[in-house]
């Protein structure tokens, strides 16, 4: 600040101020990623059944959040907001590669490449999820893997509370049909 009188006022000060803002923003954003990144990646994995893709989807989600961080950081719940962005990224991805939906829907006879020596159970739940409608899957992941309330899930997905309850019941029913009664009841 002290040397600005000798320099043309304005640009130098501006760029320094801007740099400071960026530093603060990056710090705050990095703290958020440290807190939420792993959970986001795991939810992305439950949505897409592939750890590499999950990593890409998570990074893309975080990039979008970073691009709007000045607005995002003031929102009521950054966590819930990040889920909303993630699910939109997943839905977009599904729509663009609708071919891969068919692959996902196929009965897998090979063990998942990413999970070496995975117990049978692990493959089964994720595969069963992959056969659900993508929005039903999102409801289950947000509701049961992330433990959000029905109301929060509704807000994240832009659905009504009754639609979330309906999708949840329907999806659990389908999981039960695929995985057997004791999956839910034991």
């Amino acid at each position: 600040m002290t040397d600005t009188s000798t320099v043309a006022p304005g640009p130098a000060v501006w760029s320094r101020a801007r740099r400071r803002t960026k530093e603060a923003r990056d710090q705050e954003f990095t703290a958020f990623v440290e807190a939420a990144g792993t959970r986001l990646r795991r939810s992305a994995y439950l949505m897409c059944r592939d750890w590499h893709l999950a990593q890409d989807l998570t990074q893309h989600t975080l990039a979008k959040m970073y691009a709007s961080w000045d607005r995002v950081r003031t929102s009521a719940s950054v966590e819930a907001y990040s889920r909303r962005v993630l699910m939109n990224v997943v839905f977009d991805q599904q729509r663009r590669h609708s071919g891969s939906e068919i692959v996902l829907a196929d009965l897998p006879d090979r063990p998942d490449a990413g999970t070496t020596g995975a117990p049978e159970l692990r493959v089964t739940l994720v595969d069963a999820l992959a056969r659900l409608d993508v929005r039903d899957r999102a409801v289950l992941v947000l509701r049961h893997a992330e433990d959000h309330s029905v109301e929060t899930v509704a807000a994240i997905l832009g659905l009504s509370v009754s639609a979330v309850k309906m999708r949840n019941a329907r999806a659990l029913e389908r999981l039960r049909a695929q995985l057997g009664e004791d999956f839910l009841n034991r």
């Binding site: 990074q59 975080l62 990039a63 691009a67 607005r71 990224v89 739940l125 659905l159 009754s162």
Partner: protein, 207 residues
């Protein structure tokens, strides 16, 4: 049972190969910085920032999360501006049960065949008293009129961004739950909003 289910989901992600969060943050900052700069250029080129928001698939950061918060005046964002507005004589917030009127919104990517199937279903259902279809063009008209004093918003949205919808009046609010369940299960249906309205309100309960 819920706790058990949570354990199962937890086990399902046990194969997480892990990734250093610092690297993840750095990669996001690099990619996000590019999005930022592109956006600034677009704004400089005179394109409304809202367009980028809408195109990016991001919905408003400031959109209230719970319906309960909606009483406060929300900061106006594209996403908020696109939320359907209740008709003045109807319940101001959507209701979960015993609605007299329903608005069935189709997904923007719904196919013609899906739309025709929903149209047939609503028209043939004896529990539906009246049906009005709102096309994208009509939705856009309504949107443009409603936001006439924010030309930037209107310019940032085009008809394709707005969903088609069927506006229904039920013969009896008792049928609400069954009808919602029926239509929500149809492919191409994105969302259903219910309102309680007097008989002289516009069919569907939306402005």
């Amino acid at each position: 049972m819920d706790g058990h289910l949570r354990d199962r989901f937890e086990q399902a992600t046990a194969g997480d190969p892990g990734a250093p969060p610092g690297e993840l943050a750095l990669a996001a900052i690099t990619e996000g910085g590019r999005i930022r700069r592109r956006r600034h250029r677009l704004v400089a080129a005179g394109v409304a920032a809202g367009l980028v928001l809408a195109a990016g698939g991001l919905t408003a950061a400031n959109l209230p999360w719970g319906a309960a918060d909606r009483t406060a005046t929300p900061p106006v964002t594209i996403a908020a501006a696109m939320v359907p507005v209740s008709a003045p004589s109807c319940s101001q917030s959507p209701v979960e049960d015993h609605a007299t009127d329903l608005a069935v919104f189709l997904a923007t990517e719904a196919t013609d065949r899906q739309r025709d199937a929903v149209a047939a279903a609503v028209r043939d259902d004896a529990r539906v008293d009246a049906v009005v279809f709102e096309s994208r063009a009509e939705a856009y008209q309504r949107f443009a009129t409603l936001w006439a004093d924010s030309p930037d918003f209107v310019a940032a949205i085009n008809a394709d961004d707005l969903p088609e919808s069927f506006r229904l009046r039920l013969t009896d609010p008792e049928h609400d739950a069954a009808l919602r369940a029926r239509f929500a299960a149809m492919p191409g249906v994105a969302q259903i909003l219910g309102h309680r309205c007097p008989t002289d309100a516009p069919v569907g309960g939306l402005r």
